[in-house]
């Protein structure tokens, strides 16, 4: 079994290597090879899962050290894997959804001449993501962490002939790097505190370290999570990341990679539990982001960007839950999994719509597509119902639990967080309904594309619809399956721990309240977009709308402060280097030159003049000799 873990990572890595170095001859078979290897990985995951189910709760964790990676003095980093229920969950999600999206991409990218490379990158992503969740120490996790960042960079910028894509890719990588900086500092802190950064010793002995140190570690981990999971204040890259091909958005920027932050926090639960101040920071970030993302999602007309806002918001929920401590870890992960299903489904649906609409992304130019793309409509609709928390579907179970847990935090804090979560649910219902209505209902608002061709919407090929259908099943049933008998809770509890919160309001009340806000949200959206015709060009909108369209001015802030400021800084430093640092040197050279120019005049070519200096020198020598004798 142990060896299988290594293979799990190796399979997609091999795929990436073969596909990227393989050359032209793999152009045709490449996509299928990539898909196959993803599926192999999934199969291995399932085997391991079956094996794990056969064992008792406490013995389920598998540890395997593959080789010593960096053995230097007291510093030991190994390449080792740790497979427990938490990582297992992720493995299945990643490989499962990943395989589906590979399959989807076979259809979606069929006409792209560089698809071999695309599948290579996707495989690379899978390998890195698996490494991230399977690592048994923070440094190896960091490798996976940056690896997914790289894959994300490559995939966002896949159509790099588009300057916007290249810029978005760069931005994503850079913002992530800021987060990575947090992670690397956290690792250094762990090393100085514990002398190691393997999960097991650190997490079991976390409480031995001072709270101050732990808070610092936790805050740095939070920074890392913010970067990867697009949480405020490092959320700005996610919207732009939608420049990448849609399967990428579905896999990386919805289902898996962006949830790595949640994984990190959950995994480091012991550290966070011992640092309550950091936990407060986490829940604050989560609450702020869930509202932020939701608001942004409301205003976007680009279907993918609206979904990206939604992703941000949903991850906000997860972070919020994770920040609640043992009350919330399980629900965070549960929401993560269900979200993985429905959001991937939604993105694939969006991709399918775009596929049929000549890559148009503006929802105001859709409308009435339900009859043209029935499969897409149904699967997308199920995803929609799941995300807004329609009773009985996946999102209902997971989101409801988080809202309950937020209230259960207790005190004013609990009310604030619970309130925010409820408000978020309402807004979610609003913007998702908006997306649904704009895309599939109403009259056709189709516009000719850049080449003047009217779109001819059609259902997508089988390779694309099958994954959508599978994911729709997940969106519908996953939540229910998890909640029956608290299966999921029992599954994860040995790893994350769990405690029941004491909610000031009963679970039923919370559910009822959620239903109410849901209905309100849907109703408002219907009132705005279902009853009235939708203008093709966006109206100017209120101040908030306009701000939300621009990501609540976050990008403008970044642009003014960081980009402009940075440009000025570098420009002035270039100047300083040239004129000051180099200037001192060149100035010295010039003054030496000037001095020698003057000295040169002493060399006037007259022998007598030289004789004088010779004679003067002789005089000085005699004087020196006499002086020396006198002394």
């Amino acid at each position: 079994m142990e060896n299988l873990i290594g293979l799990l990572v190796l399979a997609p890595l091999l795929g990436a290597g073969v596909l990227l170095c393989g050359g032209r001859r793999l152009d045709r078979s490449g996509p299928w090879l990539g898909t196959l290897l993803a599926a192999v990985s999934f199969a291995l995951g399932v085997v391991l899962f079956a094996d794990m189910l056969g064992k008792g709760g406490e013995e389920r964790a598998l540890d395997v050290t593959v080789f010593q990676w960096v053995p230097v003095g007291g510093f030991r980093a190994d390449v080792g894997f740790h497979l427990d229920q938490l990582s297992m969950t992720f493995v299945l999600l990643i490989t499962g959804v990943g395989s589906l999206i590979h399959l989807y991409s076979v259809g979606y990218m069929a006409h792209d001449e560089r698809k071999r490379r695309f599948f290579g990158y996707l495989n690379l992503f899978l390998a890195a993501m698996l490494l991230l969740v399977l690592a048994d120490n923070y440094l190896l996790l960091y490798v996976g962490w940056e690896g997914v960042g790289l894959a994300s960079y490559l995939l966002i910028g896949f159509w790099q002939h588009k300057p916007s894509a290249a810029t978005a890719a760069k931005k994503a990588f850079l913002v992530n790097r800021v987060g990575d900086m947090g992670l690397s500092i956290a690792i250094m802190l762990l090393f100085t505190t514990f002398g190691t950064f393997a999960f097991d010793p650190v997490l079991t002995r976390a409480t031995d370290a001072g709270e101050g140190k732990l808070t610092a570690v936790a805050l740095m981990l939070l920074l890392a999570a913010c970067g990867k999971s697009a949480q405020v204040p490092l959320q700005s890259w996610l919207g732009d990341a939608m420049e990448g091909p849609t399967p990428v958005s579905a896999l990386i920027h919805a289902a898996t990679m962006v949830t790595a932050g949640v994984y990190l926090i959950t995994r480091s639960g012991a550290v966070f539990d011992a640092a309550p101040d950091a936990q407060t920071a986490v829940v604050t970030v989560g609450a702020v982001t869930l509202l932020f993302g939701a608001i942004v999602g409301c205003a976007k007309d680009d279907i993918k960007k609206a979904l990206a806002g939604s992703t941000m918001s949903q991850i906000g929920y997860m972070i919020l839950a994770a920040g609640l401590g043992p009350i919330g870890y399980v629900f965070a992960i549960m929401h993560l999994v269900t979200h993985g299903f429905f959001k991937a489904g939604l993105f694939l649906g969006a991709g399918s719509v775009m596929h049929g609409m000549n890559d148009e992304v503006d929802m105001r130019r859709y409308g009435g597509l339900r009859t043209y793309m029935p499969v897409t409509f149904v699967t997308f609709g199920l995803g929609y119902l799941a995300i807004i928390g329609f009773p009985g579907l996946s999102g209902f179970f997971s989101k409801d639990k988080i809202i309950e847990a937020a209230f259960a935090k207790g005190g004013t804090e609990g009310w604030i967080l619970g309130g925010a979560a409820l408000l978020g649910a309402a807004i979610t219902a609003y913007y998702m309904t908006r997306v649904m209505l704009l895309t599939f209902f109403g009259e056709k608002r189709w516009q000719p594309d850049a080449e003047g061709e009217m779109p001819h919407p059609h259902e997508s090929p089988r390779t694309m619809t099958v994954p959508m259908i599978v994911l729709a099943f997940g969106s519908v049933f996953a939540g229910g399956l998890f909640s029956i008998n608290d299966t999921f809770l029992k599954w994860l509890e040995p790893v994350t721990g769990h405690e029941e919160g004491h909610s000031p309001v009963s679970a039923l009340t919370v559910t009822a309240a959620t239903m109410v806000v849901l209905v309100i949200g849907v109703a408002i959206a219907w009132a705005q977009y279902g009853r009235r015709p939708v203008p093709v060009t966006a109206p100017r909108g209120s101040l908030l709308t306009r701000a939300a369209r621009r990501d609540l001015l976050q990008d403008d802030f970044n642009h003014v402060v960081l980009v402009r400021g940075g440009e000025h800084l570098t420009r002035s430093l270039v100047y300083v280097d040239h004129s000051l640092v180099d200037g001192v040197v060149n100035g010295t050279a010039a003054s030496v030159g000037g001095l020698s120019g003057r000295m040169r005049k002493l060399q006037n070519g007259y022998a007598r003049s030289y004789a004088v200096s010779m004679f003067g020198g002789a005089a000085v020598l005699i004087a020196a000799t006499l002086l020396m004798r006198a002394v």
């Binding site: 006037n604 007259y606 007598r608 003049s609 004088v612 004679f615 003067g616 005089a619 004087a623 006499l626």
Partner: protein, 283 residues
């Protein structure tokens, strides 16, 4: 004879005679040296220097270096200084040197350095403990020349040989330097005449200097018909040295006086004639 007195002078003083001789001759030597430095004409410098060298020869003798004293006179004053005079002559002694300094600050600096150097040198000598004067009496016991000879041919034989080689080399070098290889055929008289005609400058031989028997000398230019001096008539060397005795003014003066006198004489004669004529006519 001085030698006995020297033999006795192992002490730190010299005989009174030598003292007197020193003080007188030292003044002469210094004056000669100053003359060599300050005289405007090289010839004068050379002569002053020769004087100094002779004085030094005497000092050598006084110090018991008889051989050197003689060599000094024979070789230095006799040969080397004469060589100098020859060269001065050869080079033509372009008049006197101008003593005006051309390099900025040179004279100041030189003065300063020399002064400082001199003072330091003197200070050095006065600082040195030169209390013990052995005198060369004993060394000269077997005769000065013999003593030198035995040293030169034993201890300093290599230096001596090398110096000999040096001298020969120097002689050869001097010849090589001054010798001018004639690389083309010398122009014949006819060719030179033709060239002169071609150039049309001075076809005839240069006019001879000096007119009037009174001044028939090379340094006196001939006078042109109008009484002015002609540069062509004297050697350029003399001209360059400024040794041309321009007598044109004098000559003109003389001429004028002559004319005056003759006219006076003629006047008288003429009046007499006139008288005579008048008388004669009147007769």
């Amino acid at each position: 004879m001085i030698a006995p007195s020297l033999a006795a002078s192992a002490a730190s003083t010299t005989s009174t005679g030598e003292a007197v001789q020193f003080w007188i001759l030292a003044v002469v030597a210094v004056l000669g040296a100053l003359g060599a430095v300050l005289m405007r004409k090289a010839v004068h410098s050379a002569l002053s220097l020769a004087g100094t060298m002779i004085v030094l020869a005497v000092f050598y003798l006084a110090n018991g270096a008889y051989f050197l004293g003689v060599v000094q006179i024979v070789v230095y004053t006799g040969a080397i200084m004469m060589l100098f005079l020859f060269v001065v002559m050869l080079v033509g002694v372009t008049a006197a040197d101008s003593l005006k300094e051309t390099i900025k600050g040179q004279r100041w600096l030189a003065g300063l350095c020399v002064l400082g150097f001199g003072i330091l040198l003197m200070a050095g000598i006065s600082n040195a403990s030169l209390k013990e004067w052995n005198g060369v009496g004993r060394a000269n016991a077997g005769g000065n020349v013999e003593g030198l000879a035995s040293l030169i041919f034993t201890k300093y034989v290599f230096a001596f040989e090398i110096t000999g080689a040096l001298l020969i080399t120097a002689a050869v070098g001097a010849m090589v330097l001054t010798h001018r290889e004639r690389t083309e055929r010398a122009a014949t008289q006819r060719e030179r005449a033709e060239q002169r005609v071609r150039e049309g400058k001075q076809v005839t031989p240069l006019p001879a200097p000096g007119v009037y028997a009174r001044h028939n000398a090379v340094d006196i230019p001939g006078l042109l018909p109008d009484g002015t001096a002609s540069d062509l008539t004297v050697s350029p060397t003399l001209r360059a040295r400024g040794q041309v005795r321009d007598v044109s003014g004098e000559a003109l003066q003389d001429l004028k006086a002559l004319e005056q006198r003759s006219s006076e004489w003629l006047e008288r004669g003429r009046s007499e004639d006139a008288d005579a004529n008048g008388k004669g006519a009147g007769k």
